[in-house]
Symmetry: C2
Subunit: 213 residues, 2 copies
């Protein structure tokens, strides 16, 4: 994603602590208190401009959602999206690095991980940065309940091929695969900004549901 | 594949017992004797007109190959292909039903199974006929050496999606995946007749290598 400098972003983010959580370390193991219920918690790592996570939160009021995004200039759009959607009570944003998830969540805190249109990091020497690399799968497993699922969508063929192999090598079960999601669009599919753009060009969207076993 | 009636086919097949093996039951557990060596044995289930298996046999003289095809009118083309290629000593054809593999092979007889452009059997009630259905995976495992691989190519998206899920559910490891094989064509890729036809139309060819573990 192209990053634009937005000097007003930091102030705007800081003025909405009810959505962009200012002290997530303090909530590790206690996310129920933040949401004031014990509903399942689904997180999206790399939430971008937030269309997906906001749409999911509106669609599924009995699931809690956290969108995780590192960059001020990007998460500010997710914040605007959340406010425009009426600040759903089951939606939060975290302005942190996905590699640091273990600082904010402990085992059994999270029930599902969504990855959407993650950076493909196509160079082999950057493979460890891919969000489906073994190191990240370990990280997700360390904060998820047992037998949880990762739901992953991308337009990037190379990243998808890599991810199937990586997940299988990790011992995960491939539960569902779509190699052209929009041919038989699931009724409840919430599109990301990238997904709208790429599918409008006729490019196939790849999707997998994989389960830790 | 469209089947044409070829009244001369049976006679032609019967006149080439050195390629189309007339008594495969007798060779169960003894394929080394047929090939007069102990090289690995790779089989293709549903060999069609034989371009793939003949090309593989020519490319890899130290591997034995058997192409399996039920229909007279189809296997006769594979036989013609084999003869035109100089009747490679490491190539045989079997005119039998793939569902009956256990009549002709026993555990450890086979080192790899190839499936190429298999019938997709798109109707759910025909799922058991798909060559990557659990029942067929069991059958392959019962004649393969331990930790053997299935190499599968198809242009059919639905069958490929089904196959990834079926193989994963069976506990197989997804070792390699290509969702558009011809973009980075492997140098040693031998194309089937279907593959030439579909890739010429710009359709992606899907390929997976999956391992029994």
């Amino acid at each position: 994603m192209r990053l634009r400098h937005k000097p007003w972003a930091e102030e705007f983010i800081n003025s909405h602590p009810e959505i962009v959580i200012p002290n997530p370390e303090a909530l590790k193991g206690n996310w129920d208190k933040e949401f004031k219920n014990d509903h399942p918690l689904h997180i999206e790592v790399g939430t971008g401009k937030g269309q997906f996570i906001t749409g999911m939160a509106k669609q599924n009021p009995h699931i809690n959602y956290i969108g995780i995004e590192l960059y001020d200039s990007v998460i500010v759009s997710a914040l605007e999206n959340a406010i425009a959607a009426g600040s759903p009570p089951n939606l939060r944003l975290l302005k942190v690095n996905g590699a640091d998830l273990a600082k904010y969540f402990e085992k059994n805190d999270v029930d599902r991980v969504y990855l959407n249109f993650s950076d493909p990091w196509p160079k082999i020497r950057h493979a460890k940065r891919r969000l489906t690399h073994e190191g990240f799968l370990e990280l997700y497993e360390s904060i998820l309940v047992d037998n949880a699922e990762i739901h992953f969508k991308t337009d990037n063929r190379g990243l998808f091929e890599y991810s199937l192999i990586s997940m299988s090598a990790y011992g995960m079960l491939i539960k569902d695969v779509s190699l052209d999601l929009h041919v038989n669009m699931p009724e409840d599919n919430i599109m990301t900004e990238y997904e709208e753009k790429f599918s409008a060009k006729g490019q196939p969207i790849y999707r997998v549901e994989a389960k830790f076993v």
